[in-house]
């Protein structure tokens, strides 16, 4: 059972605001989706853990320094920047 409080808590964890007027609708939708997901509890569980699709293992490469993207390029997309850094203001 998904409650309004659950949705409020998850929203905080997700760093999302849910407006008071959206809360009832969203709780109902979440409840419906979780009920739909509950179908898996009727599935026979082999208990075997699944790791990954192609049985991949760690890929190692030689520890050689390769060129990185230039920081001035990276900063071009930042909403705010200062002195070669991303700028985060506490208030605006």
């Amino acid at each position: 059972m998904v409650t309004r409080e659950d949705v409020e808590n998850i929203a905080i964890l997700s760093k999302l605001f849910v407006a008071e007027e959206e809360l009832d609708d969203l709780t109902k939708q979440m409840q419906e989706i979780v009920e739909f997901a509950d179908a898996i509890n009727n599935a026979p569980d082999s208990g075997e853990e699944f790791d990954n699709i192609n049985n991949l293992s760690n890929v190692f490469r030689e520890d050689v320094v390769v060129e990185s993207l230039p920081s001035e390029e990276i900063l071009k997309n930042a909403p705010e920047q200062a002195e070669d850094h991303f700028l985060v203001r506490n208030h605006n």
Binding site: D6, L13, S14, F36, D45, G47, E48, N52, V88
Partner: protein, 485 residues
């Protein structure tokens, strides 16, 4: 006949210059895109500059590659250096990647002419293209209907001849479903066959990039060009074996077609009838049909939504208003800034999936949902392993119905999730599958079927799909739109 080869021949025989060809497409986009809404960003200057380079080579009598000078498009979640890439989300407006996705790097080096970036569901989350910040792309067969999604813009553009081919991405059916809805071909490659570097992530263990094309031969040509090992994606192994084009026209006599009965349950009658007719076509081509059950498929849909949303909630944590894209204007403290940025920047479906993903990963629910879904993923993988001991490929509908009307998908999220029932098992198991047109309903809307192969068996499914296309060409119809060559 391959559309790409046709264009290549026109160029090399000097029947049209690459610039004229590109201009034809750009002017068709200008007139037709108003109603189709397939493109969200047209890159005319870049396209014409590339076309001139190709013409210069041709004028000097130099040889050009098969994809060189052929126009195309990319879904807007594929990074293009210096060209805005938004995932059709407000949160990425203005974002210009500083590097190319590997697939675009490859095609750009091959001389492809990119016409622009195409519409999609926001962050690829949707089945109708309508969760796009720019509104949905419409269906070239009837613009009252949706293009499908999430790669709806590519499918609409290719179906409407305003792009000869394009690349999309498929997390739970996002290449195959819109290809099916728009009456064209869509290939979702094996997980790891194509590099995901530069594909903006939705659910990393399910996402794959693949071609959306007019014909099976075209899908084969484009797949061969993009399937290569890439050290920048640690899950990428590249194509195994020869080019798929080498065998795409082989005889399929003696091939074993598998039908899993679960795939035919709950399918609309018109779709089922078309798929069963296709089975007869395969029999007439000398293929053998084997029937079996795959009970594990019954749980595929909830398993998919749990895993996809869990991964999405983690992947989309990066949109914090600090490093790129949209940032809320007014706030009080950094937590407030991030919450406001994300709440104003993401659409309703994206928020829903982030919330669900966070829920299934949170303490108390992790074991019951996420872990259980992962274990079941293993069960589904094994069920396919068993199935491929009995057949060379599995034939199934791509979608249980034809393209829904615009506005229908947004009204009921669960009902829309159910339409992904036939496509998601392939992503869960990391398999390749190609959707091919196999009929029309009484309203003239296209019906598609998918051929599902074992891992890295793209050559087999493309060969079998091409055999069907040649035997039943009536399922491939032109629409009234776009460029007529």
């Amino acid at each position: 006949m391959s559309e790409i080869k046709k264009i290549h021949d026109l160029l090399t025989q000097k029947q049209i210059s690459c610039k004229e060809l590109t201009e034809k497409y750009l002017s068709a986009i200008e007139s037709d895109n108003k109603e189709l809404n397939a493109y969200v960003n047209v890159t005319a200057d870049e396209a014409l500059a590339q076309a001139e380079k190709v013409d210069a080579k041709l004028n000097k009598g130099e040889e050009i590659g098969l994809l060189e000078g052929v126009p195309m498009t990319l879904k807007d979640n594929l990074s293009t250096k210096g060209i805005e890439t938004t995932c059709c989300s407000k949160i990425l407006t203005g974002y210009k990647p500083i590097y190319n996705a590997t697939v675009w790097d490859k095609l750009e080096k091959d001389g492809a002419v990119m016409l622009g970036k195409t519409n999609m569901d926001e962050f690829a989350m949707g089945s109708s293209c309508e969760t796009s910040y720019f509104g949905g792309a419409t269906n070239p067969f009837n613009t009252k209907h949706c293009s499908g999604g999430s790669s709806g813009g590519v499918a609409s553009a290719v179906g409407a001849n305003i792009a000869p081919y394009g690349l999309g991405s498929d997390t739970g059916g996002s290449i195959r479903q819109p290809a099916s809805f728009c009456g064209i071909v869509g290939l979702k490659p094996t997980y790891g066959a194509v590099s995901r570097y530069g594909l903006i992530a939705y659910a990393s263990s399910l996402d794959q990039i693949g071609p959306i094309t007019k014909t099976v031969e075209d899908a084969s040509i484009v797949f061969d060009a993009i399937s290569d090992y890439d050290p920048k994606d640690s899950t990428c192994q590249g194509r195994k074996g020869n080019k798929t084009f080498d065998t795409v026209n082989n005889d399929i006599k003696g091939m074993k077609v598998g039908i899993a009965r679960e795939y035919l349950e709950g399918i609309r009658d018109d779709v089922k009838e078309s798929v069963l007719n296709a089975v007869k076509v395969y029999e007439s081509l000398g293929a053998e049909v084997v029937y079996f059950d795959m009970p594990a498929l019954k749980f595929a849909l909830p398993v998919y939504y749990i895993i996809a949303c869990a991964e999405a909630s983690s992947n989309l944590g990066r949109y914090d208003g600090i490093r790129y894209g949209f940032k809320a204007e007014h706030y009080n403290g950094t937590h407030d800034m991030m919450c406001r940025t994300r709440s104003e920047g993401f659409g309703a479906e994206v928020k829903r999936r982030i919330l669900l993903g966070t829920y299934v990963l949170s303490a108390g629910y992790y074991d019951a949902y996420y872990k259980k879904a992962q274990n079941l993923r293993g069960t589904i993988v094994k069920a396919f392993d068993e199935a491929f001991k009995k057949c060379d490929f599995i034939l199934a509908p791509t979608v249980p119905m034809t393209a829904f009307e615009m506005g229908h998908a947004v009204s009921d999220p669960i009902e829309t999730y159910l339409t992904d029932i036939c496509t998601v098992p392939v992503n869960i198991a990391g398999l390749p599958a190609v959707s091919v047109p196999c009929g029309f309903n009484d309203k003239g809307m296209p019906i598609g079927m998918q051929l599902i192969g074992n891992k890295f068996s793209e050559a087999t499914i493309l060969n079998a799909a091409n055999a069907f296309e040649k035997a039943a060409p009536e399922n491939f119809k032109e629409t009234k739109w776009g460029v007529k060559l």
